[in-house]
Symmetry: C2
Subunit: 783 residues, 2 copies
């Protein structure tokens, strides 16, 4: 594996770099992103730099700029610290830099940036440290330590709040009051233009020489959207100047404070936090990371190379840093790590990130699903506006009740020079199934009846209503079909009977039928309530009448399931040279979208994704045949594709190929290619890393409500251990070369392994030998 | 004189610099501003730089961001050209720079930026050239010439339109279509948020190797608010690569094209312009500069030092570059040179820039006054909303009909840390007199009866109605007074009977009375029309009854006219250390506004400005006594102060002092202090340079309708020649050590010199010997 960051052999939590290039945005800004789910800041430098993308977002604070869809506003820069040494502005592009190091401690969430700066006969040692607190969601603390190693110098610092930022030019925020409280706390207020969300930013500084607190009189300067304080200190050789910046951010939608009180509360909290020093506040945060994240999501890989462990730590770090602690919000496809996709949520959450949360933090999974429940009205509006019934979930969603948020226009067609219409909001309808898939997996894993009755059933039933109304009768073929959609393979617009879409629609209606049956029998009151809301009595008959007439694309003579009605009739081209690891869309250098549409080229796992998610619907022969058919035709232009391929390859015991896909999938963000690095991380791919390790190599799967554990440990790993929640138990799974060991804390569980059902009693263990018959199966290619 | 730019002894039109500091915005961005009155661009570099302020504005395109007053939107950057040499991004902060030179040719309006860049064993010679056309207001053309002096190199260029710019964070523009026409013209459309003004930006490139046109296929990239084309060229050692960027800008309020047609027209114009090369288009522009500006505004100073001539050329250049060719627009106090004061127009135009236009381009002066006529409704609205009658002109104005545009909040009080209320919009009422002063001076100089009857009289009469309604009866003193105003000395808020305000209000009403008398007698039809509009019959009687009861602050026993009712009773402090040349507001480091209010400290010429403008109302003794009193108490924190002081000192034959003030006034923008350099130029001060030379040393003045020419040639000057329009004639005035020579082209004229009236016949000359009795008068101080 080749990462864009360095790792350390003896440290599974270190990602760092000792190179710096002031001429280009390096990827560290994105991969070293810091956040706590509420607040997120890219790892841009404190000092301004020519090539940088500094973004700060608060989850859920969506706003629409005139005529645009809503997005997360890029918030005022609280990171900035401008340093002058003897009047010379510090910049990495001036002078000479030695001993450069920038690294993120994934375990503690602390980012360090240190180096010696040689300029005009001075040698100045800089160390910048910072973190966003995991124990106080509003709090950001940073610190600069400066030592002059050759002479006495004068140090000047300008630091504060800089609201002269925007979303690539688009400004969501209206400037409000700027104030100075108690001659030390700078406060800046802003408000979003359209959604009227109020923001409060506070900053207080403390400075020290050799740990002795200095008593600085404030010397503030305010400009448009800016408030800065100014410091001027004479520093003797080898003295250490320490400058600590405390900042906090509050909004009117935080939910934990009355809107009228947020300014007071924010000031009080600032005062309380300022009683502690940097290290004390960092330690509080570290404790929260340990108890809330690391202890609950344990994954341990024993191997000579620790890069896989770093990758899974990175994934868990980013999932924690980017998941809002509020069920009115969801995870953006880029989290809070960049402006890409405007902070919007896609199916990435349900299909690629949800397994992690379901199995390690089910209450977070529940929050994420509640978000969809809160979005039902928007989904109903969307269905209605398209002439359908029930709930059609938005392809892109932001504030849950706002409904569809896919922007109408996308990138540019190379042939016509015109921007292309984004059809996903209209045609990529499988997202409605994806939500149901996640709800069902959550219910299987947690047996959370309360959630099912309060929210889950309603989501499923209304989704089934949508699909039922979406079916079109084909009088020639005498079946119901689904025409004019985009499947997971987004290269193909306006296709009929996309396999993934038809199968999952059918499955949704089936699930709905079972739920109605179940409720009528065992929970008549709940049935009545839902019937009153959704008019189930009528629709139920319709479902029963139609469900078996839904066309499910059948495997052909070669066992290949057609991706859609026309795919298999199109010309085949060599796709190798267009396959990528995030370098995205190489194929569009040679073909435009209309041309790609006419070829057997697939953007990402489509039929293969269906087989991965619904393994029990297809036999092994079909699984293998479709792998052999589609895998060579897939470009992986979506970051969601590689992990699915890794898991399927592992399932098929294509060990080398699986591991190669695993490595490539880890490299989606951690790799060296730059791609659209300023746009942010691929959160679906971080979920994919956990999925590959736990579901793929770890063999965890839920198959129609049942737990299966059937690992395929990679040859280069000595062991793999992970912990999951299943029903009311914590289950620890250890896999090594010889055995599979299942330890249960809590109630007993059942699981399937190689078609046998095993039972582990409450608070006990079970060991199975690893049968090696499958791992020696011959791989049939040279990958 | 010490300028921030270098000048050349043998070139009166050169301002340049051979220093560069990539760590700081240097003043060259502001003083080397380019514009044609319609379009203006700061002299920021083509390549992005860490410390820069790139602004482009189109006059009059005001828009209000939510809850703010209107301002000129900073428009998409069409300047940008990003160059990579062998993959290394060109930046002045990387590598080594040799032979650096940046200069503006004031005569031709061409900006050159050239240097050798040494990087990684390469030596690359760069020459950037650019101009905004004076003959085609929409057109901007720039050129880069690149020669590799040591090796063959690869050159990559990215250039296009970058809309990711804002007004210090505030975004006025809504993104529109991005298109590529004919595989070569990039087009980007935007629209202002509130005012709905549409913008079209087009860019086309041509590139050459050794003058041979290359045939590049376009390779465009579009991002949010951005469209760029990409070029990749292999260049042999000593070959010259030339890259020419043609750009144009159109708006829906241009007035010369139907709104629906602007896209077509802009594309057609681009195609037409692209038939010409850089030099040809530049030559067309140069011809326009010559015929429209230089030939009409002649000022020639013969002296050993050519800095005064450079200053007056600089002033005329900036006045031309910043004056909109459209009477719906006016000159901003910062022109189009920066975001300062939001593009708004103040009294600076009428009092400090108008003389230049009245005497050299009366049709421009007429446009500027017509702007006030178009603003009458806004002025009436303002008067009405304040409970007054007539027209109260806005302190800050933007689109003429929008009325008062002073933002409610200004900079921060150092004591409370809170932003201070800007009272000028409410209290700085003398602007209404200032408009009348300019109208009268225009009418005296041009005898433009048509303007008077169509617009001028109405302005004056309605202004007088305002003042009449503004008077308050003081029953104790038995006079009418004007309480609670801010005079030109803005340190003093809420003063009563500011001398400047009372005198000019009185004078306005007097003028109105004369006009009514004149019209009743000689133009009864026009009177009837105005009477119908303004109800003059009633108000006229009121004027007559009140005018002589208006309190005009009287000179005290020491001949000092009190600036207001309380000024002379306040403590006096030493002001020397707070006097500045644009380094602004030093006094606020020691006092806040409330404290300064309680001292005999004056921001700028106030009583002295009154005496300068209405010399015939005051005798020489009073003039001298007030100079002696107020001059030492004035900080010159306003850029409008120094020129007035220079002229008055010259009038008082304080030659050395006058020259010192002249030098300092030239340094307001051209000097070395940085001040708020990114905010833009001081247009009033550029008017002041012409005023000092022509009105001050050249002795030109209009005193109650009569032309006076009474020069005081500085000792260090050999001669001064200038040309003015007077009535229907062109008058050339030559002053040297011995004589004053007046040459008239056109009808004969009369003028006053030392209380004698002289007459010059049509198309003839008159010579007067310079009496030296006055210049030997002893100066009574050591300045």
């Amino acid at each position: 594996m080749k990462y864009c960051v360095d790792t350390k052999e003896n440290d599974n939590w270190y990602i760092g770099t000792e190179k710096f290039n002031p001429q280009a945005i390096d990827k560290s800004e994105t991969v070293m992103f810091q956040g706590n789910g509420y607040l997120g800041i890219r790892a841009a430098p404190e000092e301004k730099s020519l090539c940088e993308k500094r973004d700060m977002f608060v989850a859920g604070t969506f706003d629409a700029f005139k005529d645009e869809v809503t997005e997360l506003p890029n918030l005022p820069d609280i990171l900035n610290i401008r340093v002058k040494i003897n009047q010379q502005l510090f910049s990495l592009s001036a002078g000479t830099i030695q001993n450069y190091q920038k690294y993120l401690n994934l375990k503690d969430g602390e980012l360090i940036h240190k180096f010696d700066w040689l300029i005009a006969d001075q040698k100045i040692s800089f160390k910048f440290s910072r973190f966003i607190s995991m124990s106080d969601k509003h709090l950001f603390v940073s610190k600069v330590e400066i030592i002059s190693k050759q002479n006495d110098v004068n140090v000047q610092i300008v630091s504060g709040i800089d609201g002269q930022v925007s979303n690539s030019g688009t400004q969501h925020l209206v400037e409000g009051d700027k104030r100075l409280f108690d001659d030390k706390i700078m406060q800046f207020k802003e408000q979003t233009q359209q959604s009227g969300i109020k923001f409060i930013f506070n900053v207080e500084h403390k400075s020290y020489i050799d740990e002795v607190l200095l008593n600085n009189k404030s010397n503030i300067k305010m400009n448009r959207r800016q408030i800065f304080d100014n410091y001027d200190v004479d520093l003797m050789k080898n003295q250490k100047f320490t400058f600590v910046k405390y900042a906090n951010v509050y909004t009117s939608i935080d939910g934990d404070t009355e809107e009228d009180d947020i300014s007071d509360v924010s000031i009080q909290d600032m005062k309380k936090n300022c009683l502690f020093n940097y290290a004390e506040l960092l330690n509080k945060s570290i404790r929260a990371w340990n108890t809330e994240i690391w202890q609950r999501s344990l994954v341990e890989i024993k191997a000579d190379d620790n890069k896989p462990q770093v990758a899974v730590n990175f994934a868990r770090y980013q999932l924690a840093a980017n998941t809002p602690p509020d069920s009115r919000m969801n995870i953006g496809s880029k989290g809070l790590t960049g402006e890409g996709y405007k902070g919007h949520t896609f199916w990435d959450t349900e299909i690629f990130m949800m397994p992690y949360f379901i199995f390690t933090m089910p209450e977070v999974a529940r929050n994420l699903l509640r978000y969809r429940y809160l979005g039902l009205d928007g989904a109903r509006k969307k269905a209605k506006s398209n002439g359908y019934q029930g709930a059609q979930f938005p392809w892109e969603s932001a504030w849950p009740t706002d409904g569809e948020m896919t922007p109408p226009w996308g990138s540019v067609d190379i042939v016509t020079g015109k921007p292309m219409k984004v059809l996903s909001g209209f045609l990529e309808q499988h997202v409605t199934s994806d939500v149901v898939i996640a709800v069902m997996e959550y219910l299987y894993a947690t047996e959370d009846k309360k959630f099912a009755e309060e929210m889950g059933y309603e989501i499923i039933l209304d989704a089934a209503k949508f699909w039922n109304s979406r079916l079109e009768w084909n009088d020639e073929q005498k079946y119901f079909e689904i025409k004019n959609v985009i499947g997971p393979d987004e290269y193909k617009e306006h296709v009929n009977n996309n396999a993934f879409t038809n199968f999952t629609a059918y499955w949704c209606i089936q699930k709905a039928i079972s739920i109605v049956g179940l409720l009528k029998n065992s929970e008549p009151e709940i049935y009545d309530e839902l019937n009153y809301k959704l008019n189930l009595d009528d629709i139920y008959q319709d479902w029963l009448a139609k469900v078996d007439l839904i066309y499910l694309p059948k495997a052909n003579d070669n066992n290949v399931i057609p991706e859609d009605d026309t795919y298999l009739q199109k010309p085949v081209i060599a796709v190798d040279k267009y396959q990528s690891t995030g370098g995205h869309a190489k194929i569009f250098k040679d073909y435009d979208l209309k041309e790609v549409d006419k070829l057997q080229v697939t953007k990402q796992a489509d039929v293969l994704l269906l087989i991965y998610l619904f393994e029990d619907m297809f036999n092994k022969k079909i699984e293998k045949a479709n792998w052999d058919y589609y895998e060579p035709k897939t470009t992986h232009d979506s970051s969601l594709s590689l992990a699915t391929h890794a898991i399927l390859a592992s399932d098929l015991h294509l060990e080398k190929i699986a591991y190669k896909y695993f490595e490539r999938a880890c490299e989606v963000d951690l790799g060296t290619h730059l791609g659209k690095v300023t746009q942010g991380l691929h959160m679906g791919a971080t979920g994919g890393i956990w999925n590959m390790v736990v579901e793929g190599f770890g063999g965890l799967r839920v198959l129609d409500s049942k737990l299966r554990i059937e690992p395929n440990l990679p040859k280069s790993w000595n062991s793999l251990q992970y912990q999951i929640n299943w029903h009311n138990s914590l289950v620890r799974v250890l896999i090594d070369k010889n055995k599979l060991k299942i330890s249960v804390m809590g109630e007993g569980i059942k699981f399937i392994n190689h078609d046998k059902i095993y039972q582990v009693q409450a608070n006990s263990k079970l060991e199975l030998p690893i049968s090696d018959e499958v791992t020696v199966e011959k791989e049939n290619d040279n990958n």
